[in-house]
């Protein structure tokens, strides 16, 4: 795929307890699949989906935790340079909701403070097992100034909406930033990945 194939590129990072359905959300969105088992995703670093919004190609790079959330051992570098974070819990699992503040602390600590955070309650297809009410989650997200959405990766409810809304927000944010960018401040973007650093020689 050539580099100029898109107008925007965003890095979206998923976090939340193990088993809340992070990988399923990504798979559902990028591949249209719902994997029945809970096979760990070996060898896949992030997934990519290019979507078109108002005629503009937006490439979404969606990063999964690679299982490091299981023992609360996510590397800080995972959060660096993320444009958006999807903080996921399982509506049928009180514990996954109670852990949200801990995740928020990690975000505050390591992510850029311009990151957009979305709170996602997954597994609404299991409505009869619900343990976390919509109201509680809505109040929490409001207090933390986050967007909030409930999804079902299994039934594909709100999954498209989640990512497309996020893409829209990222675009408008990016536009604002380029307008306001007259302040020369250190931004992660100043650093370069090795492959983009130009080569030249002493001779």
């Amino acid at each position: 795929m050539s580099m100029e194939d898109y107008d925007f590129l965003f890095k979206i990072v998923l976090i939340g307890n193990a088993g809340v359905g992070k990988t399923c959300l990504v798979r559902r969105f990028t591949q249209g699949l719902f994997p029945p088992g809970q096979g760990a995703t070996i060898g896949v670093d992030f997934m990519i989906k290019t979507v078109e919004i108002n005629g503009e190609k937006v490439k979404l790079q969606i990063w999964d935790t690679a299982g490091q959330e299981r023992f609360r051992s996510i590397t800080q570098s995972y959060y660096r340079s993320a444009n958006a974070l999807i903080l996921t819990y399982d509506i049928t699992c009180e514990e996954s909701f109670r852990c949200l503040p801990e995740w928020l602390r990690e975000i505050e600590q390591y992510a850029s403070n311009k990151v957009i955070t979305v709170l996602v309650g997954n597994k609404i297809d299991l409505a009869d097992k619900r343990e976390v009410s919509q109201q509680r989650a809505a109040e929490f997200s409001e207090a933390q100034d986050m967007y909030y959405l409930e999804t079902s990766a299994k039934e594909s409810d709100n999954v498209e909406k989640l990512f497309l809304d996020l893409a829209c927000r990222l675009i408008s944010e990016a536009r604002q930033n380029t307008l306001v960018n007259n302040v020369s401040s250190p931004l992660p973007g100043e650093g370069k990945s090795i492959s983009y650093l130009t080569c030249c020689n002493f001779n």
Binding site: Q68, S77, P101, Q109, A143, P186, S193, L197, F202
Partner: protein, 627 residues
């Protein structure tokens, strides 16, 4: 395979093993990655300092795990207390009291407590006002809001909470600085505390040689995608009490205003010779037994050029390094030059501490399991085979594996009685301006300070600016490193005094005023276990591999070499860190491929030789894959 602690070599080995199909468990008793390779926010570093200053002898060591050792087994206890850091001394050159009660921005005190240890408790009320919240997240963009600029310097600046509670000395002092152009902005200790998470302070200070082994490995393995880098922008020299920029690239030499035309020609001629010195043995063979410094004296170079080449380009010892060593080092420098920029070095954004984490991420992507805050009590030795078969963790759990990687600092005293360690002296300073001010304040500089007295080592100084994401705006983070002869403070303070102004009072002599002011400093000694041979550890089974802590060299070659050597000993036929498939190249065939396997089958597609062979060799080499 089990890995204990997560320094750079261990992380590379873990990544390489997971990549070639081994099942890897990586545990570390600390709550952060990297061991002595880690980097910390300011508050994180303060806790680290406290921890290492308290000499708590935890002799109340619970030895319950001994019960778990069977008859035909033996235990090799591991040390639970890290003894690699000594002589930690920190100094604040600003009114520390003014920072009392100041909290790091974004410490999340306003969270509802869900049984979790949410708030640190201290601050309630005023600090959580929406106004405060509004200011701190934006501070990266508009630091002016946080710094007492003339407009708001009436002492009631609403953006600083210390100003709310008590008059802050820093604020009032900064007020007269109206001609802000030249004058560095006055940063106070409380601002450092508040902006603490802008800091990523490395325990080891290194740079990446742009043609060094680490860069090659990062590129080869695709781990480079997890990190971003900046070029070091300047190479500096310290000569006759002054800091000067060293022209090292062709362009630099020609553009240099400090060199005369004759000097330019001399320097270019010499550097060109160094690039392929092997082709001209007649030029140096008479001097092979003399030092590089002596050789330089014969080359018709002015004293300043000799100084630049010896200390800043070759970075070798004046008294000890031979001509060949010097030529080799100069050639390495020149070869690295220009690959990515005007100096031979790269620095990772957010600090060197990111690098081990990047390899851990690769390991995790390939199925490695990560457990921080998880300590290991002992290795379990099978008496009959003489091999290590398991570890016992803090909960008395026994975890079996075929191979074990342990960092030197985890080995107990009884294992290390015959080991002789060297030490590294380190200092970290937060300063208010660069050691060499130029038109751009965003500079990453490396400076070698030659030994101030004979018998001492040269001190390597790396100065980082805020765009490396390692310090807050309007400050510089300065790292000093040298092999120890005494305590870190004794080794390094003389150099700090030469380069910086350590006075806390406002009125100092003019000369001192020109120097950058140190706002905060810490000194410590770190154990250097890099030169230790494996056979000097007593009683270690052959399937236990020891990684050393950080070495004092500027580059990272030592860690990479060590990782590759250990990996090859374990798996002689496997490739070391082949490229991970690029996610963009993975084509998901939605209908035909079982969703479960899409990841695997596709990585097999991009690397056809891998999966089948590897997983079979992996199966008998290590604990087999679950699922």
């Amino acid at each position: 395979m089990a890995c204990v602690i997560s320094g750079l070599p261990e992380s590379i080995i873990a990544a390489a093993c997971a990549r070639s199909g081994q099942r890897v468990l990586h545990v570390d008793s600390r709550n952060y990655y990297g061991g002595n390779w880690a980097s910390f926010s300011f508050s994180g570093l303060l806790s680290w300092i406290k921890e290492n200053q308290q000499n708590t002898d935890l002799s109340d060591e619970c030895e319950d795990w001994r019960k778990l050792i069977l008859e035909n087994e033996e235990a090799i206890p591991l040390s639970s207390k890290d003894k690699t850091i000594q002589h930690v001394e920190d100094f604040c050159f600003d009114d520390q009291d003014s920072a009392e009660g100041v909290e790091e921005a974004g410490a999340l005190p306003k969270l509802p407590v869900f049984g979790a240890p949410a708030a640190k408790g201290v601050s309630v009320g005023s600090e959580e006002s929406p106004a405060e919240e509004g200011v701190s997240p934006g501070s990266e963009e508009s630091p002016a809001a946080e710094i007492p600029v003339p407009e708001s310097a009436d002492g009631t600046s609403p953006s600083t909470d210390s100003a709310e509670s008590a008059p802050e000395p820093g604020t009032t002092e900064a007020a007269p600085s109206e001609s802000a152009a030249q004058e560095p902005k006055k940063i106070t200790y409380s601002q450092i505390v508040r902006e603490g998470r802008r800091f990523n302070i490395d325990l080891v200070s290194k740079l990446l040689y742009s043609r060094g082994l680490l860069i090659d490995l990062l590129i080869k393995s695709n781990v480079s995608r997890y990190a971003e880098f900046k070029n070091a922008t300047r190479v500096l020299a310290f000569r006759e009490g002054k800091v000067e920029q060293v022209p090292c690239s062709r362009a630099d030499v020609f553009n240099s205003r400090q060199l005369t035309m004759v000097e330019k020609r001399m320097l270019m001629k010499f550097l060109t010779f160094c690039l392929d010195y092997e082709q001209h043995p007649e030029e140096y063979q008479d001097y092979e037994s003399s030092t590089f410094a002596q050789f330089l004296q014969t080359r018709k170079l002015t004293p300043s050029l000799q100084h630049f080449i010896l200390h800043s380009i070759a970075m070798v010892s004046e008294t000890e390094s031979s001509t060949l060593e010097g030529l080799q080092a100069t050639k390495k420098f020149l070869q690295c030059l220009g690959r990515y920029g005007n100096t031979p070095f790269l620095f990772p954004l957010y600090g060197q501490g990111e690098i081990p984490q990047c390899f851990c991420r690769l390991c995790a992507v390939f199925g490695g399991i990560y457990c921080l805050r998880h300590s290991v009590r002992c290795l379990v030795l099978d008496t009959a085979s003489g091999r290590c078969k398991a570890i016992v963790d803090q909960f008395g759990q026994r975890i079996s594996a075929k191979y074990f990687i342990v960092e030197d600092s985890y080995l107990s005293e009884s294992t290390c009685t015959n080991v002789c360690y060297r030490q590294i002296s380190r200092a970290v300073l937060i300063t208010d301006q660069s050691v060499l001010n130029t038109d751009s304040e965003q500079q990453v500089s490396i400076l070698t300070v030659p030994p101030l007295e004979s018998g001492k080592a040269a001190v390597c100084v790396i100065e980082l600016c805020s765009s490396t994401m390692t310090c807050m705006k309007d400050t510089y983070l300065v790292h000093l490193t040298c092999p120890s002869t005494k305590t870190a403070r004794e080794d390094l303070e003389p150099v700090v005094q030469k380069l910086f102004n350590l006075n806390t009072e406002k009125e100092t002599e003019n000369e001192e005023l020109e120097k950058p002011k140190v706002l905060w400093a810490v000194y410590f000694n770190m154990r250097d276990s890099s030169g230790v041979e494996k056979n000097s550890y007593a009683g270690l089974p052959s399937n236990v591999y020891v990684c050393s802590g950080p070495d004092p060299a500027l580059g990272n070659d030592c860690a990479v070499k060590q990782a590759e050597t250990i990996f090859r000993e374990m798996f002689p036929t496997e490739e070391f860190c082949p490229p991970a498939p690029n996610p963009e190249d993975i084509i998901y065939d939605e209908d035909e491929v079982e969703p479960e396997e899409s990841g695997l089958s596709n990585s097999a597609e991009t690397k056809p030789e891998s999966s089948a062979e590897e997983s079979s060799s992996g199966a008998d080499a290590a604990v087999t894959k679950e699922e």
